[in-house]
Amino acid sequence: MTGSRSKTVILWSIVWFNLIALSLPTIIILGASFTAGDIVQFPPDGFSLKWYAKLWLLDDFKDAFLRTLYVSVICTIVSIPAGTLAALALARYRIRFMTAIQVYLLLPFTIPLVVSGLGMMIIFGEVRILGQLWPVGIGLCCINLPFMMWAVSATVNALDNDLENAAANCGAPPLQAFLTVTLPAVMPGVITGALLMFILAFNEFLVSLFLTDARIVTLPVSIYNSIRSVITPDLAAVSVVYIVIAFFAVWLLDRLVGLELFLKSK
């Protein structure tokens, strides 16, 4: 880095402030989940793993966790082909009204989540699928789809057009060229996108709040419902599930595509 000592000091103090703000809630939740007492307080009542031992006995949270997993898997499975094909179409094919279609496909980001959630609640109610679990997965796919397309289109631009032509020239029929040349080339984008879709679906709260009822609450809604003024350690232990999954996702993303990918300028 160029510049003087004062620059380093000022920039790094802001960075450290950020680091503390970013990690403090996570660290505190981790700490609270290990308390031996029945409520979270400071200083804690000693160290124990009892809340983790009880975690699997909390049927409500266990069911909510499994439902969230199911919903996120549906969301990911639907978004992989939809997002990948759309990104390929926009980058590779001659499409009329390109700008209009791009703007249209960004609508999930421009329509406020609360409005999207309510709209889907009304529609799912009209076609009588509200109260089932799989529409929640579709709904989460609708609101986060641009992430999938963004991830794929970031890699599809790096793909050389001539590679597909070369494959065709060597006698590969269209599907084979697609499966052995195009798809592997955009795979890092597909993986990044799929991982993002899964994690975002796993965490999505507001839209799930609208699309689920008491029988089929997902984990974020269930945590929200359990937040009371008295803070109990079992909820902290449940929240740690999210922290663990986030750690795993970051590790996976780094292994598969490298986090530095996100620093690249287009």
Partner: protein, 331 residues
């Protein structure tokens, strides 16, 4: 009609057995691929120009669900609630909009949301830019990785869990108040107020802002900074006159995202505000589920959509679209 014939032939082709001799068979995957290939080949040559549109159909349909939802909400907003039956009347009217626009409560809520968006955007950008800058410019790959991981971890942890973390820290018998009382000072109310919501929102927006800023910082050549400093500018002047203007597209893009996400947020005001600092989204929720007036809630939704669109359009009009609109779709 040609579509149906095409489908039938495709299905037939998929299940037809090929004339392999029993002594020699190609590997299963080959035969499967050949079969699939012959199905793909049924897509007529003269439709080749339509392949791109075919690829777009699933995504267009998924987004259409949201568009249809918006249409329904727009329709709801134009019908008044019948107090006798608690259903929306059939006749069209603008009563819901009149109620929403005249109400002092909703005016406060809108101003509060707008104010929060402005403050949160300003603070977030001031915090995020140095972070993005240091992350991109640091010579140590270990530091860069560390900063990236610290950014992605909270990014992957949802709003509810993070708000819960803040509750433990700021709550009545939380970490900060314990520290304060142990110093012999009276405990203070840190939660269920406007600053707590703003704090939660800034922390929530930071990863978004940094991740959108980082590519913009990467695209600024370090040589430009060196040139500026070799011409006698100190680092603050270089930052202000060289780095920030060059990063403007990234700043606008990321600022607009933070602004709109804050304007439409629900969870932070709900959990950290405790009902005292409702944003527009909370009022919409209450409209639907507390006072059971979907028409009014829908009208507030349409006002929120309009407000967001108008503000984003004004920003784009004044300062260009930034990095948002051309997101990597130029072949």
């Amino acid at each position: 009609m040609p579509g149906i014939i095409f489908l039938c032939r495709a299905i037939l082709r998929l299940f037809m057995t090929s004339s392999d001799t029993p002594s020699f068979r190609y590997p299963f995957s080959w035969r499967l691929l050949d079969r699939a290939e012959s199905v793909v080949a049924l897509w007529p040559r003269r439709w080749a120009g339509l392949t791109g549109y075919l690829f777009l159909i699933p995504a267009l349909l998924l987004v259409f669900v949201l568009v249809l939802g918006l249409v329904y909400i727009c329709d709801y907003s134009l019908h008044e609630l019948d107090i006798a039956t608690y259903r929306l009347k059939d006749a069209f009217s603008l009563v819901n909009y009149q109620t929403a626009l005249k109400s002092v409560t909703y005016k406060t809520v809108v101003l509060r949301s707008l104010g929060a968006s402005a403050i949160v955007t300003l603070i977030t950008m001031m915090l995020a830019f140095p972070y993005a800058y240091v992350m991109v410019r640091t010579p140590s790959s270990f530091t860069r990785k560390f900063l990236l991981i610290s950014l992605f971890l909270p990014f992957f942890i949802g709003q509810v869990v993070r708000a819960y973390g803040w509750l433990i820290i700021l709550g009545k018998e939380g970490l900060l108040n314990t520290v304060i009382t142990s110093l012999g000072l009276p405990s203070i109310k840190l939660i269920y107020n406007y600053p707590a919501v703003l704090l939660g929102l800034v922390q929530y927006m930071l990863p978004f802002a940094v991740l959108l800023l980082a590519p913009a910082v990467t695209s600024i050549s370090e040589d430009v900074e060196l040139a500026s400093e070799s011409l006698g500018a100190n680092w603050i002047q270089t930052f202000w006159h060289v780095v920030l203007p060059l990063a403007k597209p990234g700043l606008i893009g990321s600022g607009v995202v933070v602004f709109t996400l804050t304007l439409t947020d629900f969870a932070m005001p709900e959990i950290l505000g405790g009902g005292t600092t409702d944003f527009i989204a909370n009022s919409i929720y209450d409209g639907f589920f507390q006072i059971s007036n979907p028409g009014l809630g829908a009208a507030l939704s349409m006002i929120l959509v309009t407000l967001g669109s108008v503000i984003v359009t004004i920003i784009f009009f004044l300062s260009g679209t930034g990095t948002l609109v051309t997101t990597g779709n130029t072949p």
